[in-house]
């Protein structure tokens, strides 16, 4: 009995050791020195031994009953979508608590933490926006950062040339970004999958390159300053501009530089809540359902009379609008924008948020956005290994929960009466036709 178990374990360990030795041998065993190699094979052997020990430890844990229960639970949660039963408890209490906690955060947090929270919420917005495009409508968009840039530069350049303020930008940004989304989407929406991804990737780069090279208008790599926000004309500066009133004078409280961040955080938090509400409503609305149907099967959608081009366009525009909104908050928080904030890496990060969160799941996207923005901050002590840990975490996530952090639940529907309403179908149809 004992040897029966030990033999496969030994085989496994040997295999792991050999494979890791082959991998580590050239990578860390041979060090390039000028034109020759220095032999550091012992290091490779030590690394391989560590990996092997880890593998054996995992196998040993899996043999215990606790480990087996754990693996079973992991395997269970991998199963995708479920339909709700309609008897779930309403999460209103938890949501209300979260809302109050979110609102009161500025009173507990210091400036550093508040900065991270603002960044996390901005990524929440971006994730929610891209989730509409990728998660719900199933259109792979690799250039989402373009709309983020449109929002941010709208505030920066709008204030410079048109005297646009924070509130004005907040209203115009979704419209302008939506317009950009339409301009991009209209010619390309007949494409599918990979082709669409490449076109959007190109669009993202075009926007960045234009911002980088149009020196006269955008300031190029030097960027553009962004004015601080105002509330009802009140400013957040220590001494107000000519003819202005600063908020601490108006309220008769001592000056603090934190007020600006409190204000940005609170407005951002409310906007995020509104967007979450809207996106959650979309899931049970005809438009959201059409997006999801389009993701599942485009040909079937056409056979049901869904205008697939128009439906995709709405998804693209609404996603872009949300991205533009996030851009405004980013600009006002940084007080300065320049093209290096809008590289492809940002697009990839936002996409990672959506994929990790589980395509289409709002809660998952929010959780992933918080984790992916707060984690790098917590890992500052391991600065050098930050990206490595980040990558390992993603790989592990994708192996354990390939369908994202949160399992997607579909809403349940019930008829208004238990008996059949009779020949309702065609008569109601005729009214509209």
């Amino acid at each position: 009995m004992q040897t029966n178990r030990l033999l496969p374990l030994f085989k496994q360990a040997l295999l792991t050791f050999t494979v890791s030795l082959i991998l580590f041998g050239p990578i860390s065993g041979l060090v390039l020195e000028g034109f020759s190699f220095r032999n550091e094979l012992t290091r490779a052997v030590v690394l391989a031994a560590i990996v092997t020990a880890g593998r054996v430890a995992i196998s040993l844990v899996q043999m215990t009953s606790l480990g087996q229960a754990l693996t079973r639970r992991m395997a269970d949660s991998g199963v995708g979508v479920t339909v709700m039963t309609g008897t779930e408890k309403s999460p209103v209490l938890i949501l209300a608590l979260l809302f109050v906690a979110g609102l009161s955060l500025p009173f507990f947090a210091d400036k550093y933490f508040l900065g991270i929270a603002i960044l996390a919420l901005i990524y929440c917005l971006l994730g929610l926006g891209l989730n509409i495009v990728v998660g719900l409508a199933g259109l792979l968009d690799l250039g989402f950062v373009a709309f983020y840039a449109v929002g941010a530069y709208l505030l920066a350049l709008g204030s410079q040339y048109l005297g646009l303020g924070f509130w004005g930008a907040l209203i115009i940004a979704p419209l302008l970004a939506g317009l950009f989304g339409m301009v991009l989407a209209f010619p390309v929406l007949k494409m599918h999958g990979d082709y669409l991804a490449i076109v959007t990737l190109g669009f993202g780069e075009i926007i960045r390159l234009v911002l980088n090279n149009w020196l006269d208008f955008t300031g190029g790599p030097n960027g553009a300053p962004v004015p601080a926000p105002t509330v009802f004309g009140l400013e957040f500066t220590r001494t107000a501009k000519q003819g202005g009133v600063s908020i601490h004078d108006y309220l008769g409280i001592p000056y603090s530089a934190d007020y600006k961040f409190w204000f940005i955080y609170l407005v951002l938090f409310l906007v995020v809540c509104l967007v979450i509400y809207a996106v959650e409503r979309l899931r049970v609305m005809p438009l959201g359902r059409m997006w999801e149907a389009l993701r599942e099967d485009e040909i079937a959608c056409r056979s049901l009379g869904v205008n697939h081009v128009f439906t995709k366009l709405t998804a693209f525009m609404l996603g872009a609008s949300t991205g533009g909104l996030a851009g405004v908050f980013f600009a006002v928080h940084q007080g300065f924008v320049n093209p290096t904030s809008f590289t492809f890496f940002e697009s990839a990060l936002i996409l990672a948020i959506v994929v990790l969160g589980g395509l289409g799941s709002t809660v998952g996207v929010i959780a992933a956005a918080l984790v992916l923005t707060i984690l790098p901050e917590l890992l500052r002590d391991f600065a050098e290994y930050r990206v490595l840990i980040f990558g390992v975490l993603m790989v592990v996530m994708m192996i354990w929960k390939p369908r994202g952090l949160v399992r997607i639940k579909r809403p349940a529907f019930f008829p208004s009466t238990t008996t059949d309403a009779g020949p309702l179908p065609l008569t109601a149809k005729a009214e509209v036709a």
């Binding site: 809207a278 005809p286 079937a300 056409r302 009379g305 997607i408 579909r410 349940a412 059949d420």
Partner: protein, 272 residues
Amino acid sequence: MTTPLLEIHNVTMRFGGIVANRNVSFSVERGAVTALIGPNGAGKTTMFNCITGFYRASEGEIVLNGRDGPLDIGTLITKPVTGGSHLVTRAGIARTFQNIRLFKDMSVVENLLVAQHLVTANNLLSGVFRTPSFHRAEREAVDRAYHWLREMNLADDANRLAGELPYGRQRRLEIARAMCTGPTLICLDEPAAGLNPSETRELSEVIQRLCTEHDQSVLVIEHDMALVMRISQHIVVLDHGEVISDGTPEHVANDPAVVAAYLGVSEEEVEA
């Protein structure tokens, strides 16, 4: 006798040099089951795709005498910018697919709700702010979905994922979904493919009920001859892209050209 619901005049469909349909003409009567049969590769599905607007016929015209008077399918598809096969469905022709195309990761009811997108309140704001008209439209849509689920004996599966239903039920769900678009003509592409005998029997009852109780016109492609003979009032036989026989089930069953096409009789025998 009123005008037929769908008239197909001299339709030819070419893919490059290959002629899939040559000079096909037939008509689909109101409130009856019309079957389109023929050996494999006879061009049935191509014809079907022309009727449902997925292909534009190379020549000829397909006219639907629907709710809004005569309408040429070809012009709907080629309309600039807004044109496309979705307009054909809106004009009143719904279809199902040979290889089932359900929205597998959505629930059964949601599948039917998507089909009713023309009668639900699609306005973004009305849904976000939950206006009374939005609620009413949604409630009616859900009730209508349940109505068709009951018709298809699927009411118990309403809140399950469409993809986890057994194959036979997925077939019926696809028919229910097509019916939810409120069609004047429903086109079924091999509805009995892959069904066992009892499921086939259930399906034929469903189709007959559509025809008799709901006065629904049905066009069906099918290989199961027993099913075709049982349910249809009118049969059109295609072979090598051409109509070789057109008439009642009795007429078609005794037509030597049909027997030849299916059983492969030598040329001389047919001519004799």
